[in-house]
């Protein structure tokens, strides 16, 4: 087996949203970057980029004004990762990421000061800051109270247009529901979203599919479908259907497999490679060493052993699902190098008795604590290393699932860490960076 040594300025560990965002921002700054990832939670992502979607007082209530929630988080003294960031940082990070996605064929829509509403497979409304263009028509339909048709597909389980309709009606919307067949797979038994998305990239299938939709369209002003409109050409496929049926359509995110999440994964990977990034997916890192002021880690790519020497590390390894955090003997540990993890005193306190507790679970706030530059701290509050950064969902003092802040944490902390790396490299202070007091104790 042959061995290759690769030197880079930034080694990024993790290829989920935070890892890919870190890669993008490094490449935008002209940094020589290598990214290695294994699990990637993106396969389950809805495609929506959440900044802050919960009510500032009651996490179970969704909020349409993200900035009010952000303000109260920052002022609460809870050392949320957002408290190290300025509003302009956050805007710049989302703008940078969404521009990139638009350039690779996945445009996003946003309105600066309000969340838009996405219709979920349960018929609930999800507020999100930047939403895929393919879902925009749902927000318009809900705010303008248009007549909506929801369609499900015979053979696709876990997606019921009746369920979505029944629950949407509670918001006072005029909705009806129906089912259509998927062309070419009428008798195939169970269907899944990824399979249908790939089929739809073929002209004859998309035309027949549009006809099936048209047959049921009736007097609907806008039509909702499960998110299956292709992987690489979703915008042109959607426009084609809209042309044929003469009205707008929107996608409804599904759970697993999630095609919108897959789109981000595949298009971002391609786009970042073309920008000069070196990305290795499905590769696992077991350890990182420090040698002569550099970080060294190894992984296998095909038949090759790769040894990487990086000047800086951005670790974006995720939480339990991404395997960035795990538990050992009822303690939560950081998997790769054993960084300090702030956490509840004992396992009995990890979770609330009520799964849907409006305050979330204490374990959700466990994670790695950092300074204002997103460099991890140990339990005494000292820096692990000047050139080592942690970003994304592995961070402590945030509950992304309940706050609806997952993408915001991933993208904006990645942006900030990259800025910090550039600042270290240059003697000039970047005036955009917000310096705040570091609170070393867990919430």
């Amino acid at each position: 087996m042959d061995t290759k040594i690769i030197k880079c300025q930034v080694g990024i560990i993790g290829a989920g949203l935070a890892g890919l965002a870190s890669t993008l921002f490094c490449l935008n700054k002209g940094l020589d970057t290598l990214t290695v990832g294994d699990v990637s939670e993106l396969g389950f992502a809805s495609g929506c980029l959440d900044f802050y979607g919960a009510d500032k007082k009651d996490l179970s209530v969704s909020s349409n004004s993200p900035w009010a929630g952000f303000e109260s988080l920052v002022n609460s003294g809870l050392s949320h990762p957002y408290s190290f960031l300025s509003p302009s940082n956050i805007e710049a990070s989302f703008d940078g990421f969404s521009s990139f996605m638009t350039s690779v064929g996945l445009p996003y829509c946003n309105e600066k000061d309000r969340n838009q509403l996405v219709i979920t497979p349960a018929g609930t409304l999800k507020p999100s800051w930047y939403i895929p263009a393919g879902m925009k028509a749902a927000d318009v339909a809900v705010t303008e109270k248009k007549k909506i048709l929801i369609l499900d597909i015979n053979g696709l389980k876990g997606f019921s247009s009746a369920m979505i309709m029944e629950n949407l009606k509670r918001y006072g919307l005029d909705v009806f529901s129906d089912s259509i067949k998927f062309p070419g797979r009428e008798n195939s038994g169970e269907l899944n979203c990824e399979m249908m998305a790939r089929d739809l990239e073929m002209d004859n299938v998309i035309d027949a599919f549009a006809q099936n939709i048209l047959e049921k369209a009736g007097d609907a002003e806008v039509i909702g479908l499960p998110a299956i409109l292709g992987i690489y050409r979703s915008e042109s496929l959607r426009k084609k259907i809209v042309n044929i049926i003469g009205r707008d359509i929107f996608e409804i995110p599904t759970f697993s497999p999630s095609v919108p999440g897959l789109r981000i994964k595949e298009l971002a990977f391609d786009g970042l490679s073309r920008k000069g990034g070196k990305l290795f997916l499905k590769s696992h890192i077991d350890e990182i060493e420090q040698l002569n002021g550099k970080f060294v880690f190894r992984f296998q790519s095909g038949q090759r052993n790769c040894i990487v020497e990086a000047e800086n590390i951005i670790m974006a390894t995720g939480r339990f699902f991404g395997r960035g955090l795990k538990s050992e003997n009822s303690r939560i540990v950081e998997s790769l190098i054993g960084l300090y993890v702030s956490q509840p005193e004992n396992r009995g306190n990890w979770f609330s008795d009520n799964f849907f507790d409006k305050c979330g679970h204490s374990i959700n706030k466990a994670g790695v604590l950092t300074d204002s530059y997103f460099r991890p701290l140990n339990n005494a509050g000292s820096l692990f290393n000047e050139n080592f950064y942690t970003v994304g969902s592995i961070l402590g003092n945030q509950d992304w699932k309940r706050e609806k802040s997952g993408a915001g944490i991933a993208i904006s902390t990645a942006y900030s860490a990259v800025q910090s790396i550039c600042m270290q490299a240059s003697p000039f202070i970047d005036s955009e960076h917000k310096l705040s007091n570091v609170n070393k104790t867990a919430a």
Partner: protein, 510 residues
Amino acid sequence: MYTDVLIIGGGATGTGIVRDLSLRGISCILVEQNDINAGATGANHGLLHSGARYVAKDIEAARECHFENHLLKQMAPQCIEETGGLFVAVKGDDEKYIADFPVMCQTAGLPCEDISIDEAMALEPSLSKDIIAAYRVNDASIDPFKLSIDNLSDAVTHGAKILRHHEVTCFLKKGSIIYGVELFNHSNGKKVIVKASEVINATGAWADIVAARAGVGVDMLYSKGSLLVTSSRLNSMVINRLRQAADADILVPGGTVSIIGTTSVTLDSLDDIRPTSQEVDYVIAEGSVMVPELSTCRYIRAYSGVRPLVHNIGADGRTVSRNYSLIDHESDGIENFITITGGKLSTYRLMAEKTSDLVCKKLNNDSFCLTDKTPLPESDMGRWVEPGKSSKYWFMNKDSSDTLLCECEMVSKSMVDSIVDCIRVEGKNPDLKEIGLRSRVGKGPCQGFFCSFRIASHLYDTGVFVEDQGLSGIKDFIGERWKGLKPLVRQDELVQTDLQEAFLCGLLGL
């Protein structure tokens, strides 16, 4: 409403009694405040004892278990898997107990075979390498859900009536003579009067509460036992620790899983019985001594049951006899009222027999018990409760349009539809909880997180759910399963919980 005998309590004992009496031609009504097996019968090990566990301290119990074990295998084979059992000791266990064990078994009349360590390891590769002795006995695995449902079904075939969600609020008495009960129907808030010649209190751990409503005292000790269910089956035979009975001594295989337990925690009340993380950690630590894989394997559920123990002076939960208490309250000055409590699942039929004999005597009825001669028919109601049955049925039918809604336990659309029909026939509202009771939905590795959404979708498609019934149904169903998951989410389970919360809370906003 009038009946010869009113039975209060829908666990193994109550359902056993209603079948016993119905076979004898006696009219019966069974009332249950919650649902079938809501008490200890729905929260035990699923173990059909050989009796060997009791040979040291309670030889009478050991003999009874042995006899019933043999009989039930003939009478209700559909509820039993004849796994056989092992008693194993590890380095450091009491050598004297090990040496006395075969002698004690022999005294009790139980078959007990001394086997070599190599043979034990060949039979059960999951055993620790540190075992120093092994004996083979006739333990087996029994499905308490199927058992109660089958008993109930046969009773109904013979004319019995069942009233679920009906709680006894007071006893109707003329002086000290009981002639019936007043019931509160939790489903519709209405009161129901039932008059009966004899009333049997078969309410297990609630026996003292119910007896108090009749004006009688029964001194009970509530002893909680918690058990853990593994994600996949680890053993083919029941594995017992060869020592004086203690905690986390038994690993029972059941269908597609294994169950390790148990603990013994004295409780003050029956409110909110749930397993704690300390109990979970303790059971895993103790159990791993016999079967090391228990410390690393994935668990899908923890649950607790309360043993109904009638108090003996100065006893802790474990030294109180597991033998049953059959009390004719004539001795307390109350007529037409009997309490049967205590005991264990393995001897339910015997307890039912003794109780039924006593009741018949009081009714001047000289009929005799038929449950030791009449096999228990397998009921339709109990069909989908058996692990693995759904998957065999689905595979045989080979209907690719009959989508699997619960992939862990292979429950398909058509099965859900037939269960919904059954529920309607019983006059109840179909919802996820009712479907869960009549099938294995939610009992597999995902514990309902994925399948609850799929099944709710299907129920909206078929018009069973309207408005937000499905969403509140999902929250209730998962809330229930969470009780059993919360204390054991600690290793690999964290990954799944993370994902499920992301879907339900992050995406759907539930």
